[in-house]
């Protein structure tokens, strides 16, 4: 299914980002949903919950922005804008 494949691709990207950040838990993801992307935020969250189960992205908060511009060049797409990862390192907070 189209939506499932898109989500799977996004999860793969999220996990790769988390991995690059030394495997921290994913706290939040921000996504942009194009006007023609087939997704409502609820719909997207449902898919995300299913697809992230058992990964470091499980339980992450989904912040979805819906764009209503039909002529946007990415109108049919879903964009992962950013990933917020809990730091495991010993960085000192400011």
């Amino acid at each position: 299914m189209h939506e499932q494949a898109l989500i799977d691709d996004l999860i793969a990207k999220i996990l790769a980002v988390a991995e690059a950040e030394r495997g921290g838990q994913v706290v939040r993801v921000r996504v942009w949903l194009g006007a023609l992307s087939h997704f409502t935020p609820e719909h997207f969250r449902e898919h995300f919950v299913d697809a992230s189960r058992g990964t470091v992205a499980e339980g992450a908060e989904v912040e979805a922005t819906v764009d209503d511009d039909l002529t946007h060049p990415r109108a049919s797409g879903v964009v992962l804008e950013s990933v917020v990862v809990a730091s495991r390192g010993n960085r000192v907070s400011g």
């Binding site: 189209h2 194009g34 006007a35 039909l70």
Partner: protein, 147 residues
């Protein structure tokens, strides 16, 4: 009044089959149907001088699968973004625009675009699209019955 029905699409590509499937139902009911599979420019000769052309095709615009989009044109370009949403390289909107540019456009055109979700070879139509077939067939007949 001279009128014709044209269906577009491939029977073997999931929801793209919606045109041919509606065509089957219309033929069973004794209507004649122009079937141009995946190549709408084949319509150009058949539609010249018609009063009404009704087109059934699958589209992809982001709406819920099974949604029937209805577009009507009385000689002006088709409204909306169907040109982008057609599932064919040289789409129905382009074909009708070409017919207009060449002075061959039917007086009135109604496009019934059915929102599809999957188009892979060998896939079945999605249930929502299959469920829309009856309504769609009835709508084509109603369009033809209108004066």
């Amino acid at each position: 009044m001279s009128a014709a029905v044209a269906v577009l699409g491939s029977r073997y590509r999931g929801d793209d089959a919606v045109g041919p499937l509606v065509g089957d139902r219309l033929r069973e009911a004794g209507l004649s149907v122009l079937d141009c599979r995946e190549e709408p420019t084949r319509l150009l000769d058949a539609i010249e001088g018609l009063d009404l052309l009704v087109v059934v095709d699958a589209v992809r615009s982001g709406a819920e699968p099974g949604t029937i989009h209805r577009l009507e044109s009385h000689g002006e370009p088709l409204p909306g973004d169907l040109a982008l949403a057609s599932t064919h390289a040289f789409g129905i909107a382009e074909t009708l625009e070409l017919a207009r540019a060449l002075g061959r456009a039917p007086r009135r055109v109604v496009v019934l675009g059915v929102e599809g979700a999957r188009f892979g070879l060998g896939e079945q139509p999605t249930p929502a699209v299959a469920a829309a077939l009856d309504a769609l067939t009835a709508q084509v007949r109603a369009e033809l019955a209108e004066p």
